[in-house]
């Protein structure tokens, strides 16, 4: 016989619910709620704008940063802060990468295949 006691059944249910919550969280990233979501988005947007400016200052801006930020603003206007946050974060990461890339190329010289 493999019958669970009511106590065990309740525990299993809690475990399943917990696991579902964890998986949902992993799939969607940190959930943003209400005013806090708006604030978090706005903060990320400002950070992304700064990263974009920094990348541009060394001629390293990537093509889609501006597009991501524009789309993020449109989503935020509709109240979808979660999607807006994701796009702003993408723009922020690209800004940082573009800056690093441009710095790494400042002293570039003929590659080995030219020598």
């Amino acid at each position: 016989m493999n019958q669970e006691s009511p106590k065990m059944k309740t525990l299993s249910l809690f475990r399943a619910a917990g696991l579902a919550l964890v998986l949902t969280g992993l799939a969607n990233g940190p959930a943003l709620a209400g005013d806090s979501a708006q604030a978090q988005y706005e903060d990320m947007y400002q950070q992304a704008k700064a990263a974009q400016k920094r990348a541009a200052s060394v001629e390293g801006e990537w093509r889609d940063i501006g597009k991501f930020l524009k789309k993020a603003q449109a989503l935020a206007k509709k109240g979808d802060y979660e999607a807006a946050f994701k796009l702003a974060r993408k723009a922020y990461i690209q800004g940082k990468l573009g800056y690093t890339q441009a710095l790494s190329q400042q002293k570039v010289d003929w590659p080995s295949y030219f020598k």
């Binding site: 390293g60 801006e61 990537w62 093509r63 990468l97 790494s104 190329q105 570039v108 003929w110 030219f114």
Partner: protein
């Protein structure tokens, strides 16, 4: 003893001078650049690189030769001639700005010592227009490409001969252009050299990557993809977008410096614009 020290110091100095590589300048760069392509594509003469990918791929060349039987740029050359001969509102014309015209393509890009910048043909045309009270033309396509198509047509056969004068500012502009060409950029992390040197002649999807040698000889170009003429800086913009980098404005300092470097690298190759490309 003193004699031995002097001899030792002299020998040491000679050894050091031999060990330190000579400072590479534009001339050394040019030799290195052209040697690379001549070695990569043996049997293709230097002048043939003016034909881009059609110099290195037989099938593409056959298609291109068929297109050239009725060149899609021909009507634009006629239109450009009309533009050249149409006087400005003040009664003057392009001939007043460019007395040696219209065959002046080989004179550009050049270093303008007075304004300390690279002067391209398109920039010179707009400065001429503005000096005579005309509106400047947009730099990517349309009238500027049409007018330069006529100038390029008239300049056909003249060799590319960009000069990098012995001027630190000119040399700095050349170096900036060279660095731009060599630097990886955009989300794809490609440089101009990645496609047009390291992988020149290889396929990127259905297309063959053209060699950079000769890249500047045939502009403005009629691209089937565009269905119209476009300038070299329009092509720069497109390339930068393709590697997912934010492009610079046409005739920006970045693209003028790039044009300066890239055209210098094709020195000796005859001009054959306007061209027809895929």
């Amino acid at each position: 003893m003193l004699k031995r020290i002097i001899t030792l110091a002299g020998t040491l100095g000679l050894c050091l001078s031999l060990a330190t590589p000579a400072q590479a300048g534009p001339k050394e760069d040019l030799a290195r650049f052209q040697h690379f392509y001549l070695k990569r594509f043996p049997g293709v003469p230097l002048k043939e690189f003016a034909n881009g990918v059609y110099a290195i791929d037989k099938v593409s060349r056959e298609n291109w030769e068929a297109i050239e039987e009725f060149p899609p740029y021909e009507p634009y050359v006629e239109e450009g001639k009309e533009m050249w001969n149409t006087p400005f509102k003040d009664g003057k014309g392009y001939k007043d700005c460019f007395p040696d015209g219209p065959a002046i393509k080989a004179d550009y890009p050049r270093w303008d010592a007075a304004s300390k910048r690279v002067l391209t043909l398109e920039l010179a045309i707009n400065e001429c227009r503005q000096a005579h009270g005309e509106k400047p033309l947009k730099y990517k396509k349309g009238p500027i490409a049409i007018l330069t198509a006529y100038i390029a047509w008239e300049s056909r056969g003249k060799p590319t001969h960009v000069v990098i004068p012995d001027d630190p500012d000119a040399r700095a502009a050349y170096e900036r252009g060279k660095r731009f060409w060599l630097a990886r950029r955009g989300q794809l992390n490609f440089s101009c050299a990645t496609c047009h040197a390291q992988n020149a002649g290889k396929h990127i999807r259905a297309d063959i990557l053209s060699p950079a040698l000769g890249h500047t000889t045939h502009f403005p170009v009629y691209r089937s993809k565009w269905g119209e003429l476009g300038t070299l800086h329009r092509r720069f913009t497109g390339c930068n977008k393709q590697v997912r980098a934010k492009p610079f404005k046409p005739q920006s300092e970045q693209y003028r410096d790039l044009e300066y470097f890239l055209t210098y690298m094709s020195n000796g190759i005859p001009l054959n614009g306007p061209g027809a490309r895929k």
